[in-house]
Symmetry: C2
Subunit: 190 residues, 2 copies
DNA sequence: GAGAAAAGTCAACAAATGTTGACAAAAGGA
DNA sequence: TCCTTTTGTCAACATTTGTTGACTTTTCTC
């Protein structure tokens, strides 16, 4: 058969459907509250297929949780606006409708799922810390990274996971200004 | 029988044992991952007793989650150090070994448990917001409360729930100074 | 000590969980 | 068309879950 443009092989399509459904449900309800049958139903396939394609619930979760923060290159960041830049980037990471959305998945489950917690820790250690290394004395980089994490994950938690009304109500510009200033101070050790 | 000093009625004692075990396990593993049989084992009693004393797992959780932040009186806070004061208070709330410890329970489960999330929201609305009302224009109180919540819960999340190493490594004085300054700025609208 | 009330034990239930294997349908290549 | 591989369906499994009811043991009062 001549190649159907834009249509992948059927197996790829169901695999993608499962992954998309899993991402959405894991992000919405967390690891424990999301059953394989729920995922299968959302993807309109048989529960057994989920296992067939991903081996186990754990491995499916791991696959969905395996993603990249995609932080801008260290060199391309204006040190005077790291705070705002970082916050903007994380906001996009949460609100971006399309591709990844792995961060919501992770944070929703991290509180009661050791794997997810470890994964978050790795992400910050491998991707955020390097950025901070170039912004101040390396001796304090770890401390600065900790403070930055506490504020950024706190914002994500209260706004997207817990959905505390006062935090949800914050408009983008206020967040960029206020939280950005905090992150700026933490990041540069000011 | 003459009253045994410091010993309560037997039923009260087992009830307290269940509650203590539940508090510890809920705080450690979250709502979903803590089974009634786990709680019973930790309290060295029969699983049926848990139901007998508390009716259901939900009600037990609700009981354990029903507590008070115990914030200092608004009037007694020095407005120039609200940030530090608030942070110190929340630190004590987490690290206090004895009585309550309900906050760890709540935060550990809030990400995937609607009841816990709602409860946190209520706590902040009913107990933190009033404090902020006296520290700036009432029109911005909600916004200031949101920012304060994002930082304080973020600290709690990363330090006590996720246990991110760089945040765990922070010493008390650094937290009081750095995070205190942020909360101060958020709270007063500076 | 007899009898009542409280506290505790035990086995079982129905439902939901992740996972598996046997089988049927469809697709693709020869 | 025949045959092989892929893809999907179905029923069942073992385990764990919260919860219940019948029963025995303890505790306390008279």
């Amino acid at each position: 058969m001549v190649d159907k443009p834009l249509k992948m092989k059927k197996s790829e399509r169901t695999r993608a459907a499962i992954e998309a459904a899993a991402r959405r449900l894991f992000a919405e309800h967390g690891y424990e509250r999301t059953g394989i049958r729920d995922i299968a139903a959302a993807a309109a396939i048989d529960p057994a297929m989920v296992i067939r394609y991903f081996g186990s619930k754990d491995r499916l979760f791991a696959e969905v949780a395996d993603f990249d923060l995609g932080l801008p290159d260290v060199a391309s960041i204006d040190p005077a606006h790291v705070g705002r830049t970082l916050v903007a980037h994380f906001l996009a990471l949460w609100e971006g409708d399309s591709a990844n959305g792995g961060l919501p998945v992770l944070l929703r489950s991290a509180a009661s799922n050791e794997f997810a917690a470890t994964r978050i820790q790795q992400l910050f250690a491998a991707q955020v810390l390097p950025v901070l290394l170039s912004l101040g004395p390396s001796a304090t980089a770890s401390q600065r990274a900790g403070l930055v994490a506490s504020q950024i994950l706190g914002l994500a938690l209260t706004r997207y996971v817990l959905a505390l009304p006062p935090v949800v109500a914050l408009d983008r510009e206020t967040i960029l200004a206020e939280v950005g200033a905090t992150v700026q101070r933490y990041a540069t050790g000011g």
